[in-house]
Protein backbone atom coordinates (compact mmCIF):
# COMPACT_ATOMS: atom_id res chain seq x y z
CA UNK A 1 0.00 0.00 0.00
CA UNK A 2 2.77 2.43 0.83
CA UNK A 3 4.73 1.44 -2.23
CA UNK A 4 2.61 3.43 -4.61
CA UNK A 5 2.89 6.86 -3.13
CA UNK A 6 3.45 9.11 -6.08
CA UNK A 7 4.89 12.55 -6.21
CA UNK A 8 7.92 12.07 -8.47
CA UNK A 9 9.45 15.40 -9.29
CA UNK A 10 6.32 17.43 -8.53
CA UNK A 11 7.01 20.92 -7.17
CA UNK A 12 10.64 20.42 -8.22
CA UNK A 13 11.19 18.05 -5.31
CA UNK A 14 13.70 15.21 -5.61
CA UNK A 15 12.45 11.83 -6.73
CA UNK A 16 11.29 9.70 -3.80
CA UNK A 17 12.68 6.49 -5.21
CA UNK A 18 16.26 7.26 -4.18
CA UNK A 19 15.40 8.53 -0.69
CA UNK A 20 15.81 6.83 2.63
CA UNK A 21 12.96 6.47 5.12
CA UNK A 22 13.69 9.63 7.05
CA UNK A 23 13.94 11.87 4.01
CA UNK A 24 10.76 10.32 2.65
CA UNK A 25 8.99 10.97 5.94
CA UNK A 26 9.98 14.64 6.00
CA UNK A 27 9.08 15.06 2.33
CA UNK A 28 5.59 13.73 3.10
CA UNK A 29 5.28 16.04 6.11
CA UNK A 30 6.24 19.01 3.94
CA UNK A 31 3.71 18.05 1.27
CA UNK A 32 0.96 17.60 3.86
CA UNK A 33 1.69 20.99 5.44
CA UNK A 34 1.60 22.61 1.99
CA UNK A 35 -1.72 20.89 1.22
CA UNK A 36 -3.28 22.02 4.48
CA UNK A 37 -2.09 25.62 4.04
CA UNK A 38 -3.29 25.88 0.45
CA UNK A 39 -6.63 24.29 1.34
CA UNK A 40 -7.15 26.65 4.27
CA UNK A 41 -6.43 29.76 2.24
CA UNK A 42 -8.64 28.54 -0.62
CA UNK A 43 -11.37 27.90 1.91
CA UNK A 44 -11.23 31.46 3.21
CA UNK A 45 -12.07 32.74 -0.26
CA UNK A 46 -14.67 30.02 -0.87
CA UNK A 47 -16.58 31.12 2.24
CA UNK A 48 -16.48 34.67 0.94
CA UNK A 49 -17.65 33.49 -2.50
CA UNK A 50 -20.51 31.61 -0.86
CA UNK A 51 -21.66 34.77 0.93
CA UNK A 52 -21.19 36.95 -2.17
CA UNK A 53 -23.21 34.59 -4.38
CA UNK A 54 -25.92 34.35 -1.78
CA UNK A 55 -25.99 38.13 -1.49
CA UNK A 56 -26.11 38.61 -5.26
CA UNK A 57 -29.06 36.22 -5.53
CA UNK A 58 -30.88 38.37 -2.97
CA UNK A 59 -29.77 41.66 -4.64
CA UNK A 60 -27.54 42.63 -1.73
CA UNK A 61 -23.85 43.52 -1.88
CA UNK A 62 -22.58 41.02 0.66
CA UNK A 63 -19.36 41.60 2.59
CA UNK A 64 -17.63 44.59 0.98
CA UNK A 65 -15.86 46.52 3.73
CA UNK A 66 -12.72 44.58 4.72
CA UNK A 67 -10.17 44.87 1.91
CA UNK A 68 -10.96 45.47 -1.77
CA UNK A 69 -14.42 44.01 -2.60
CA UNK A 70 -14.43 42.52 0.91
CA UNK A 71 -11.74 40.02 -0.08
CA UNK A 72 -10.24 39.93 3.41
CA UNK A 73 -13.57 39.39 5.18
CA UNK A 74 -12.84 35.73 6.04
CA UNK A 75 -9.51 36.67 7.63
CA UNK A 76 -11.22 39.33 9.71
CA UNK A 77 -13.76 36.73 10.82
CA UNK A 78 -10.94 34.36 11.69
CA UNK A 79 -9.33 36.96 13.96
CA UNK A 80 -12.68 37.77 15.54
CA UNK A 81 -13.36 34.11 16.37
CA UNK A 82 -9.87 33.40 17.66
CA UNK A 83 -9.77 36.36 20.04
CA UNK A 84 -13.15 35.70 21.61
CA UNK A 85 -13.52 33.84 24.87
CA UNK A 86 -14.17 30.11 24.73
CA UNK A 87 -17.33 29.47 26.71
CA UNK A 88 -17.78 25.95 28.05
CA UNK A 89 -21.24 25.25 29.49
CA UNK A 90 -21.19 24.32 33.18
CA UNK A 91 -23.02 20.98 32.81
CA UNK A 92 -21.08 19.89 29.75
CA UNK A 93 -18.62 17.05 29.37
CA UNK A 94 -15.55 19.25 29.03
CA UNK A 95 -13.16 16.82 27.35
CA UNK A 96 -15.63 15.66 24.73
CA UNK A 97 -16.94 19.20 24.25
CA UNK A 98 -13.48 20.35 23.16
CA UNK A 99 -12.69 17.09 21.36
CA UNK A 100 -15.76 17.18 19.08
CA UNK A 101 -14.76 20.09 16.81
CA UNK A 102 -11.19 18.76 16.67
CA UNK A 103 -12.46 15.36 15.48
CA UNK A 104 -14.64 17.07 12.86
CA UNK A 105 -11.77 19.11 11.46
CA UNK A 106 -9.25 16.25 11.58
CA UNK A 107 -11.56 13.93 9.67
CA UNK A 108 -12.31 16.65 7.12
CA UNK A 109 -8.59 17.17 6.48
CA UNK A 110 -7.77 13.43 6.54
CA UNK A 111 -10.11 12.70 3.64
CA UNK A 112 -8.11 15.07 1.43
CA UNK A 113 -5.12 12.75 1.77
CA UNK A 114 -6.11 10.68 -1.25
CA UNK A 115 -7.62 13.35 -3.50
CA UNK A 116 -5.58 13.81 -6.68
CA UNK A 117 -5.73 17.44 -7.84
CA UNK A 118 -3.47 17.04 -10.88
CA UNK A 119 -1.38 14.19 -12.36
CA UNK A 120 0.84 13.04 -9.49
CA UNK A 121 -0.26 15.83 -7.16
CA UNK A 122 -1.65 13.69 -4.38
CA UNK A 123 -0.46 13.02 -0.84
CA UNK A 124 -1.05 9.26 -0.97
CA UNK A 125 -2.15 7.47 -4.13
CA UNK A 126 -3.56 4.35 -2.45
CA UNK A 127 -5.32 1.76 -4.57
CA UNK A 128 -8.55 1.84 -2.55
CA UNK A 129 -8.88 5.62 -2.34
CA UNK A 130 -12.65 5.58 -2.74
CA UNK A 131 -13.11 3.22 0.22
CA UNK A 132 -10.78 5.41 2.27
CA UNK A 133 -12.90 8.47 1.60
CA UNK A 134 -16.09 6.59 2.49
CA UNK A 135 -14.52 5.33 5.73
CA UNK A 136 -13.21 8.74 6.77
CA UNK A 137 -16.41 10.57 5.90
CA UNK A 138 -18.38 8.07 7.98
CA UNK A 139 -16.13 9.02 10.92
CA UNK A 140 -16.98 12.69 10.48
CA UNK A 141 -20.39 12.03 12.06
CA UNK A 142 -18.74 11.57 15.45
CA UNK A 143 -17.74 15.21 15.72
CA UNK A 144 -21.38 16.19 15.38
CA UNK A 145 -22.88 13.53 17.67
CA UNK A 146 -20.32 14.11 20.39
CA UNK A 147 -20.60 17.88 20.09
CA UNK A 148 -24.37 17.69 20.46
CA UNK A 149 -24.24 15.29 23.37
CA UNK A 150 -21.39 16.93 25.29
CA UNK A 151 -23.16 20.30 25.25
CA UNK A 152 -25.70 18.80 27.68
CA UNK A 153 -28.49 20.88 26.22
CA UNK A 154 -31.67 19.99 24.35
CA UNK A 155 -31.37 21.81 21.04
CA UNK A 156 -27.82 20.63 20.33
CA UNK A 157 -28.77 17.05 21.17
CA UNK A 158 -31.80 17.10 18.86
CA UNK A 159 -29.66 18.68 16.15
CA UNK A 160 -26.99 16.03 16.58
CA UNK A 161 -29.53 13.20 16.35
CA UNK A 162 -31.04 14.68 13.21
CA UNK A 163 -27.67 15.26 11.67
CA UNK A 164 -26.40 11.76 12.37
CA UNK A 165 -29.56 10.13 11.03
CA UNK A 166 -29.42 12.27 7.92
CA UNK A 167 -25.75 11.60 7.22
CA UNK A 168 -26.09 7.85 7.78
CA UNK A 169 -29.11 7.72 5.43
CA UNK A 170 -27.49 9.58 2.58
CA UNK A 171 -24.17 7.80 2.95
CA UNK A 172 -25.89 4.63 1.78
CA UNK A 173 -27.06 6.09 -1.51
CA UNK A 174 -23.72 7.88 -1.99
CA UNK A 175 -22.03 4.49 -1.60
CA UNK A 176 -24.23 2.94 -4.29
CA UNK A 177 -23.73 5.86 -6.68
CA UNK A 178 -19.97 5.59 -6.25
CA UNK A 179 -20.20 1.86 -7.03
CA UNK A 180 -21.74 2.64 -10.44
CA UNK A 181 -18.78 4.89 -11.23
CA UNK A 182 -16.33 2.24 -10.00
CA UNK A 183 -17.95 -0.36 -12.25
CA UNK A 184 -17.65 1.88 -15.29
CA UNK A 185 -14.11 3.02 -14.51
CA UNK A 186 -12.95 -0.44 -13.36
CA UNK A 187 -10.84 0.80 -10.45
CA UNK A 188 -11.02 2.02 -6.86
CA UNK A 189 -8.02 4.27 -7.26
CA UNK A 190 -9.07 7.90 -7.65
CA UNK A 191 -6.20 8.66 -10.03
CA UNK A 192 -7.19 5.75 -12.28
CA UNK A 193 -10.83 6.84 -12.19
CA UNK A 194 -9.75 10.24 -13.51
CA UNK A 195 -7.43 8.62 -16.07
CA UNK A 196 -10.42 6.69 -17.45
CA UNK A 197 -12.10 10.00 -18.36
CA UNK A 198 -9.43 11.71 -20.48
CA UNK A 199 -9.62 13.10 -24.02
CA UNK A 200 -12.83 15.01 -24.27
CA UNK A 201 -15.95 15.55 -22.18
CA UNK A 202 -17.80 12.62 -23.80
CA UNK A 203 -15.60 10.33 -21.73
CA UNK A 204 -16.63 11.96 -18.45
CA UNK A 205 -18.86 9.74 -16.38
CA UNK A 206 -21.54 12.40 -16.20
CA UNK A 207 -21.99 12.39 -20.00
CA UNK A 208 -20.84 8.92 -20.96
CA UNK A 209 -21.08 8.97 -24.77
CA UNK A 210 -17.77 7.51 -25.95
CA UNK A 211 -19.20 4.53 -27.86
CA UNK A 212 -22.54 3.27 -29.24
CA UNK A 213 -22.80 0.77 -26.36
CA UNK A 214 -22.25 3.55 -23.85
CA UNK A 215 -25.52 5.14 -24.96
CA UNK A 216 -27.25 2.39 -22.98
CA UNK A 217 -25.95 3.69 -19.67
CA UNK A 218 -25.35 7.37 -20.49
CA UNK A 219 -28.78 8.47 -19.15
CA UNK A 220 -28.28 6.38 -16.01
CA UNK A 221 -24.85 7.90 -15.39
CA UNK A 222 -26.18 11.42 -15.85
CA UNK A 223 -28.98 10.63 -13.43
CA UNK A 224 -26.40 9.28 -10.96
CA UNK A 225 -24.49 12.55 -11.32
CA UNK A 226 -27.59 14.54 -10.35
CA UNK A 227 -28.34 12.11 -7.51
CA UNK A 228 -24.79 12.39 -6.20
CA UNK A 229 -25.00 16.17 -6.25
CA UNK A 230 -28.21 16.16 -4.21
CA UNK A 231 -26.88 13.50 -1.83
CA UNK A 232 -23.73 15.57 -1.37
CA UNK A 233 -25.89 18.51 -0.32
CA UNK A 234 -27.59 16.30 2.26
CA UNK A 235 -24.36 14.69 3.40
CA UNK A 236 -22.70 18.05 4.07
CA UNK A 237 -25.82 19.49 5.77
CA UNK A 238 -26.10 22.23 3.18
CA UNK A 239 -29.37 23.96 2.37
CA UNK A 240 -31.99 22.77 1.40
CA UNK A 241 -31.07 19.91 3.72
CA UNK A 242 -29.58 21.96 6.58
CA UNK A 243 -32.07 20.58 9.09
CA UNK A 244 -29.49 19.87 11.79
CA UNK A 245 -28.97 23.60 12.08
CA UNK A 246 -32.40 24.81 11.02
CA UNK A 247 -32.58 28.22 12.69
CA UNK A 248 -36.35 28.32 12.83
CA UNK A 249 -36.60 25.08 14.81
CA UNK A 250 -33.30 24.29 16.46
CA UNK A 251 -31.52 27.69 16.76
CA UNK A 252 -28.23 26.32 15.36
CA UNK A 253 -28.43 22.58 15.93
CA UNK A 254 -25.38 20.90 17.39
CA UNK A 255 -23.40 24.16 17.44
CA UNK A 256 -25.71 26.11 19.77
CA UNK A 257 -23.37 26.00 22.77
CA UNK A 258 -20.19 26.53 20.78
CA UNK A 259 -18.43 29.85 20.60
CA UNK A 260 -15.09 31.24 19.56
CA UNK A 261 -12.42 28.88 18.21
CA UNK A 262 -14.34 25.58 18.67
CA UNK A 263 -17.19 27.04 16.63
CA UNK A 264 -14.69 28.20 14.04
CA UNK A 265 -13.34 24.65 13.80
CA UNK A 266 -16.84 23.25 13.24
CA UNK A 267 -17.55 25.78 10.50
CA UNK A 268 -14.16 25.15 8.94
CA UNK A 269 -14.78 21.40 8.91
CA UNK A 270 -18.19 21.94 7.34
CA UNK A 271 -16.77 23.99 4.48
CA UNK A 272 -13.88 21.57 4.10
CA UNK A 273 -16.38 18.74 3.68
CA UNK A 274 -18.22 20.79 1.07
CA UNK A 275 -15.04 21.34 -0.92
CA UNK A 276 -14.25 17.64 -0.58
CA UNK A 277 -17.65 16.82 -2.06
CA UNK A 278 -16.99 19.30 -4.90
CA UNK A 279 -13.65 17.60 -5.56
CA UNK A 280 -15.28 14.16 -5.44
CA UNK A 281 -17.96 15.18 -7.96
CA UNK A 282 -15.21 16.57 -10.17
CA UNK A 283 -13.15 13.39 -9.92
CA UNK A 284 -15.95 10.85 -10.21
CA UNK A 285 -18.15 12.53 -12.82
CA UNK A 286 -16.50 15.54 -14.43
CA UNK A 287 -13.16 14.17 -15.57
CA UNK A 288 -10.91 15.52 -12.80
CA UNK A 289 -8.04 17.52 -14.17
CA UNK A 290 -8.78 16.88 -17.87
CA UNK A 291 -9.83 19.66 -20.23
CA UNK A 292 -13.29 19.36 -21.84
CA UNK A 293 -11.58 19.09 -25.26
CA UNK A 294 -7.90 18.36 -25.62
CA UNK A 295 -7.42 20.42 -28.79
CA UNK A 296 -5.13 23.41 -28.47
CA UNK A 297 -5.26 23.73 -24.69
CA UNK A 298 -2.17 21.68 -23.77
CA UNK A 299 -0.44 24.80 -22.38
CA UNK A 300 -3.07 25.10 -19.62
CA UNK A 301 -1.86 23.33 -16.46
CA UNK A 302 -4.15 20.43 -15.37
CA UNK A 303 -4.65 21.98 -11.92
CA UNK A 304 -6.48 24.86 -13.60
CA UNK A 305 -9.17 22.53 -14.95
CA UNK A 306 -9.53 20.75 -11.62
CA UNK A 307 -9.90 23.99 -9.67
CA UNK A 308 -12.31 25.54 -12.15
CA UNK A 309 -14.52 22.44 -12.18
CA UNK A 310 -14.55 22.38 -8.38
CA UNK A 311 -15.39 26.08 -8.36
CA UNK A 312 -18.24 25.44 -10.77
CA UNK A 313 -19.68 22.69 -8.55
CA UNK A 314 -19.28 24.97 -5.54
CA UNK A 315 -21.12 27.72 -7.42
CA UNK A 316 -23.99 25.26 -7.95
CA UNK A 317 -23.94 24.46 -4.21
CA UNK A 318 -24.17 28.18 -3.43
CA UNK A 319 -26.97 28.76 -5.94
CA UNK A 320 -28.98 25.89 -4.47
CA UNK A 321 -28.54 27.48 -1.06
CA UNK A 322 -29.82 30.79 -2.42
CA UNK A 323 -32.88 29.61 -4.32
CA UNK A 324 -34.25 26.34 -2.86
CA UNK A 325 -36.42 26.37 0.27
CA UNK A 326 -35.61 24.06 3.17
CA UNK A 327 -37.00 20.53 3.22
CA UNK A 328 -39.07 19.19 6.07
CA UNK A 329 -37.35 16.43 8.02
CA UNK A 330 -39.75 13.60 7.16
CA UNK A 331 -39.60 14.61 3.48
CA UNK A 332 -35.81 14.47 3.64
CA UNK A 333 -35.90 10.96 5.06
CA UNK A 334 -38.54 9.87 2.53
CA UNK A 335 -36.38 11.19 -0.31
CA UNK A 336 -33.29 9.41 1.00
CA UNK A 337 -34.76 5.99 1.76
CA UNK A 338 -37.68 5.69 -0.65
CA UNK A 339 -36.32 7.47 -3.75
CA UNK A 340 -32.53 7.68 -3.75
CA UNK A 341 -31.75 4.29 -2.22
CA UNK A 342 -33.95 2.13 -4.53
CA UNK A 343 -33.03 4.05 -7.69
CA UNK A 344 -29.31 3.97 -6.98
CA UNK A 345 -29.53 0.26 -6.12
CA UNK A 346 -31.32 -0.41 -9.42
CA UNK A 347 -28.68 1.65 -11.21
CA UNK A 348 -25.92 -0.50 -9.67
CA UNK A 349 -27.64 -3.65 -10.95
CA UNK A 350 -28.21 -2.14 -14.39
CA UNK A 351 -24.68 -0.80 -14.79
CA UNK A 352 -23.08 -4.04 -13.59
CA UNK A 353 -25.23 -5.98 -16.05
CA UNK A 354 -24.05 -3.58 -18.75
CA UNK A 355 -20.42 -4.11 -17.77
CA UNK A 356 -20.81 -7.90 -17.90
CA UNK A 357 -22.92 -8.31 -21.04
CA UNK A 358 -22.19 -5.29 -23.22
CA UNK A 359 -18.60 -4.65 -22.24
CA UNK A 360 -16.90 -1.43 -21.40
CA UNK A 361 -14.05 -1.03 -19.00
CA UNK A 362 -14.51 -4.35 -17.23
CA UNK A 363 -11.05 -5.52 -18.28
CA UNK A 364 -9.55 -2.95 -15.92
CA UNK A 365 -10.54 -5.01 -12.88
CA UNK A 366 -9.35 -8.46 -11.84
Amino acid sequence: MFANFIMPGAFGLPNWENMDDVQFFWLKVAVIVAFVLILSITLAFLILADRKIWAAAQMRRGPNVVGPFGLLQSFADLLKFVFKEIIIPAGSDKTLFILAPIISLTMAFLAWGVVPVAPGWVISDINIGVLYILAISSMGIYGIIIGGWASNSKYPFLGALRSAAQMVSYEVSIGFIIITVLLVAGSLNLTEIVMAQGHGFWNWHAFYLNSPQALLIAPVMFYMFILFFVSALAETNRPPFDLPEAESELVAGYQVEYSSTPYLLFMFAEYLNITLMCALITILFLGGWYAPLDIGVQFVPPIFWFVSKCAFVFFMFAMVKAIVPRYRYDQLMRLGWKVFLPTSLLAVMYVSAWVVFVGGNAAGGA
Binding site: L96, N127, A135, S138, Y142, I146, E171
Partner: protein, 200 residues
Protein backbone atom coordinates in the same frame (compact mmCIF):
# COMPACT_ATOMS: atom_id res chain seq x y z
CA UNK B 1 12.17 1.53 11.89
CA UNK B 2 8.99 3.47 11.16
CA UNK B 3 6.71 0.40 10.89
CA UNK B 4 8.10 -1.05 14.13
CA UNK B 5 7.57 2.23 15.97
CA UNK B 6 4.06 2.49 14.55
CA UNK B 7 3.29 -1.06 15.60
CA UNK B 8 4.25 -0.47 19.23
CA UNK B 9 2.46 2.87 19.30
CA UNK B 10 -0.77 1.56 17.78
CA UNK B 11 -0.91 -1.67 19.75
CA UNK B 12 -0.26 0.05 23.06
CA UNK B 13 -3.01 2.56 22.27
CA UNK B 14 -5.31 -0.35 21.40
CA UNK B 15 -4.62 -2.15 24.68
CA UNK B 16 -4.97 1.00 26.77
CA UNK B 17 -8.20 1.93 25.03
CA UNK B 18 -9.60 -1.59 25.43
CA UNK B 19 -8.84 -1.40 29.15
CA UNK B 20 -10.54 1.98 29.41
CA UNK B 21 -13.69 0.60 27.74
CA UNK B 22 -14.20 -1.51 30.84
CA UNK B 23 -12.72 0.88 33.39
CA UNK B 24 -14.33 4.17 32.43
CA UNK B 25 -17.25 5.30 34.57
CA UNK B 26 -19.27 7.04 31.88
CA UNK B 27 -20.82 4.68 29.30
CA UNK B 28 -20.47 7.29 26.54
CA UNK B 29 -16.75 7.48 27.26
CA UNK B 30 -16.67 3.67 27.10
CA UNK B 31 -18.10 3.75 23.60
CA UNK B 32 -15.58 6.42 22.59
CA UNK B 33 -12.74 4.21 23.83
CA UNK B 34 -14.30 1.27 21.97
CA UNK B 35 -14.14 3.35 18.80
CA UNK B 36 -10.50 4.14 19.50
CA UNK B 37 -9.86 0.40 19.92
CA UNK B 38 -11.51 -0.37 16.57
CA UNK B 39 -9.49 2.38 14.95
CA UNK B 40 -6.21 1.08 16.36
CA UNK B 41 -7.09 -2.43 15.17
CA UNK B 42 -7.60 -0.96 11.70
CA UNK B 43 -4.15 0.62 11.99
CA UNK B 44 -2.66 -2.80 12.82
CA UNK B 45 -4.34 -4.25 9.72
CA UNK B 46 -2.77 -1.52 7.60
CA UNK B 47 0.66 -2.33 9.04
CA UNK B 48 0.17 -5.95 7.96
CA UNK B 49 -0.69 -4.84 4.42
CA UNK B 50 -4.37 -5.69 4.71
CA UNK B 51 -5.64 -2.23 3.84
CA UNK B 52 -9.00 -3.46 2.52
CA UNK B 53 -9.83 -5.18 5.81
CA UNK B 54 -8.70 -2.10 7.70
CA UNK B 55 -10.99 0.25 5.82
CA UNK B 56 -13.86 -2.24 6.02
CA UNK B 57 -13.38 -2.38 9.78
CA UNK B 58 -13.50 1.42 9.99
CA UNK B 59 -16.51 1.68 7.69
CA UNK B 60 -18.62 -1.06 9.26
CA UNK B 61 -17.67 -0.98 12.93
CA UNK B 62 -16.67 2.63 13.46
CA UNK B 63 -18.96 4.18 10.89
CA UNK B 64 -22.11 2.18 11.54
CA UNK B 65 -22.09 -0.21 14.50
CA UNK B 66 -20.47 2.17 16.99
CA UNK B 67 -22.82 4.97 15.93
CA UNK B 68 -25.73 2.73 16.94
CA UNK B 69 -24.01 1.91 20.25
CA UNK B 70 -23.52 5.61 20.85
CA UNK B 71 -27.16 6.36 20.05
CA UNK B 72 -28.42 3.72 22.45
CA UNK B 73 -26.07 4.74 25.24
CA UNK B 74 -26.89 8.43 24.85
CA UNK B 75 -30.63 7.87 24.75
CA UNK B 76 -30.80 5.51 27.72
CA UNK B 77 -30.85 7.13 31.10
CA UNK B 78 -28.26 4.94 32.76
CA UNK B 79 -27.93 5.09 36.52
CA UNK B 80 -24.21 4.66 37.18
CA UNK B 81 -24.44 3.87 40.90
CA UNK B 82 -27.02 1.19 40.17
CA UNK B 83 -24.69 -0.36 37.60
CA UNK B 84 -21.68 -0.33 39.92
CA UNK B 85 -23.54 -1.89 42.82
CA UNK B 86 -23.73 -5.40 41.38
CA UNK B 87 -20.00 -5.46 40.61
CA UNK B 88 -18.83 -7.79 43.36
CA UNK B 89 -21.72 -10.23 43.07
CA UNK B 90 -21.07 -10.65 39.34
CA UNK B 91 -17.29 -10.69 39.74
CA UNK B 92 -16.74 -14.48 40.28
CA UNK B 93 -18.88 -15.44 37.26
CA UNK B 94 -17.27 -12.81 35.03
CA UNK B 95 -13.84 -13.82 36.26
CA UNK B 96 -14.44 -17.47 35.31
CA UNK B 97 -15.55 -16.48 31.79
CA UNK B 98 -12.52 -14.20 31.40
CA UNK B 99 -10.10 -16.92 32.53
CA UNK B 100 -11.64 -19.46 30.11
CA UNK B 101 -11.36 -16.99 27.23
CA UNK B 102 -7.76 -16.20 28.13
CA UNK B 103 -6.86 -19.93 28.26
CA UNK B 104 -8.42 -20.46 24.83
CA UNK B 105 -6.49 -17.55 23.40
CA UNK B 106 -3.24 -18.88 24.84
CA UNK B 107 -3.89 -22.38 23.47
CA UNK B 108 -4.79 -21.14 19.99
CA UNK B 109 -2.10 -18.48 19.84
CA UNK B 110 0.52 -20.85 21.29
CA UNK B 111 -0.17 -23.62 18.79
CA UNK B 112 -0.15 -21.11 15.93
CA UNK B 113 3.10 -19.41 16.80
CA UNK B 114 4.87 -22.56 18.00
CA UNK B 115 4.80 -24.67 14.85
CA UNK B 116 5.06 -22.05 12.15
CA UNK B 117 7.45 -19.36 11.16
CA UNK B 118 4.76 -17.95 8.87
CA UNK B 119 4.29 -14.22 8.84
CA UNK B 120 1.54 -12.70 6.75
CA UNK B 121 2.87 -11.30 3.51
CA UNK B 122 1.32 -9.48 0.58
CA UNK B 123 0.83 -11.67 -2.45
CA UNK B 124 3.77 -11.92 -4.77
CA UNK B 125 1.75 -11.53 -7.98
CA UNK B 126 1.01 -7.92 -7.16
CA UNK B 127 -2.71 -8.54 -6.90
CA UNK B 128 -4.25 -5.86 -4.71
CA UNK B 129 -6.15 -6.76 -1.55
CA UNK B 130 -9.57 -6.14 -2.97
CA UNK B 131 -8.91 -8.14 -6.14
CA UNK B 132 -7.61 -11.07 -4.11
CA UNK B 133 -10.72 -10.95 -1.92
CA UNK B 134 -13.03 -10.74 -4.90
CA UNK B 135 -11.38 -13.69 -6.62
CA UNK B 136 -11.97 -15.94 -3.63
CA UNK B 137 -15.27 -14.54 -2.41
CA UNK B 138 -17.16 -14.79 -5.68
CA UNK B 139 -15.76 -18.15 -6.82
CA UNK B 140 -14.95 -20.62 -4.04
CA UNK B 141 -17.11 -19.04 -1.36
CA UNK B 142 -19.90 -17.61 -3.50
CA UNK B 143 -22.53 -19.75 -1.74
CA UNK B 144 -21.43 -18.73 1.77
CA UNK B 145 -21.23 -15.12 0.69
CA UNK B 146 -24.77 -15.09 -0.65
CA UNK B 147 -26.09 -17.14 2.27
CA UNK B 148 -24.69 -14.60 4.74
CA UNK B 149 -26.33 -11.83 2.75
CA UNK B 150 -29.64 -13.69 2.91
CA UNK B 151 -29.32 -14.17 6.68
CA UNK B 152 -28.71 -10.46 7.15
CA UNK B 153 -31.73 -9.66 4.98
CA UNK B 154 -33.91 -11.99 7.07
CA UNK B 155 -32.64 -10.39 10.28
CA UNK B 156 -33.48 -6.96 8.88
CA UNK B 157 -36.99 -7.98 7.81
CA UNK B 158 -37.49 -9.64 11.19
CA UNK B 159 -36.56 -6.46 13.03
CA UNK B 160 -38.96 -4.44 10.88
CA UNK B 161 -41.80 -6.92 11.35
CA UNK B 162 -41.30 -6.90 15.14
CA UNK B 163 -41.50 -3.13 15.41
CA UNK B 164 -44.07 -2.34 12.72
CA UNK B 165 -47.41 -1.31 14.16
CA UNK B 166 -50.41 -0.29 12.11
CA UNK B 167 -52.12 2.48 13.99
CA UNK B 168 -55.44 3.85 12.90
CA UNK B 169 -56.01 7.55 12.68
CA UNK B 170 -52.50 8.40 11.53
CA UNK B 171 -52.57 10.91 8.69
CA UNK B 172 -49.81 10.21 6.23
CA UNK B 173 -48.54 12.52 3.55
CA UNK B 174 -49.24 11.29 0.01
CA UNK B 175 -47.14 13.38 -2.32
CA UNK B 176 -48.86 12.32 -5.56
CA UNK B 177 -52.26 13.08 -4.04
CA UNK B 178 -51.04 16.51 -2.99
CA UNK B 179 -49.53 17.31 -6.36
CA UNK B 180 -52.53 16.11 -8.37
CA UNK B 181 -54.94 18.20 -6.30
CA UNK B 182 -56.45 21.10 -8.23
CA UNK B 183 -58.24 24.27 -7.28
CA UNK B 184 -61.56 22.63 -8.12
CA UNK B 185 -61.05 19.91 -5.47
CA UNK B 186 -60.09 22.29 -2.74
CA UNK B 187 -62.22 25.41 -3.08
CA UNK B 188 -65.99 25.58 -3.02
CA UNK B 189 -67.70 28.86 -3.73
CA UNK B 190 -70.94 29.26 -1.80
CA UNK B 191 -73.43 31.98 -2.62
CA UNK B 192 -75.12 33.23 0.52
CA UNK B 193 -77.84 35.80 0.47
CA UNK B 194 -77.20 38.68 2.79
CA UNK B 195 -78.97 38.29 6.12
CA UNK B 196 -79.81 34.61 5.52
CA UNK B 197 -76.91 33.18 7.54
CA UNK B 198 -75.57 29.72 6.83
CA UNK B 199 -78.67 27.91 7.91
CA UNK B 200 -77.35 26.84 11.28
Amino acid sequence: MLPVLSFYLISSVAIAAAFMVVASRNPVHSVMFLILTFFSAAGLFVLMGAEFLALLLVMVYVGAVAVLFLFVVMMLDVDFSEMKRGFFSYFPMGGVVAVILLMELIVIGGSYFADSEVTPEPRADGLSNIEAFGNVLFTDYAFFFEASGLILLIAMIGAIVLTLRHRTGVRRQDITKQVSRTRKDGVELVEIESGAGTGE
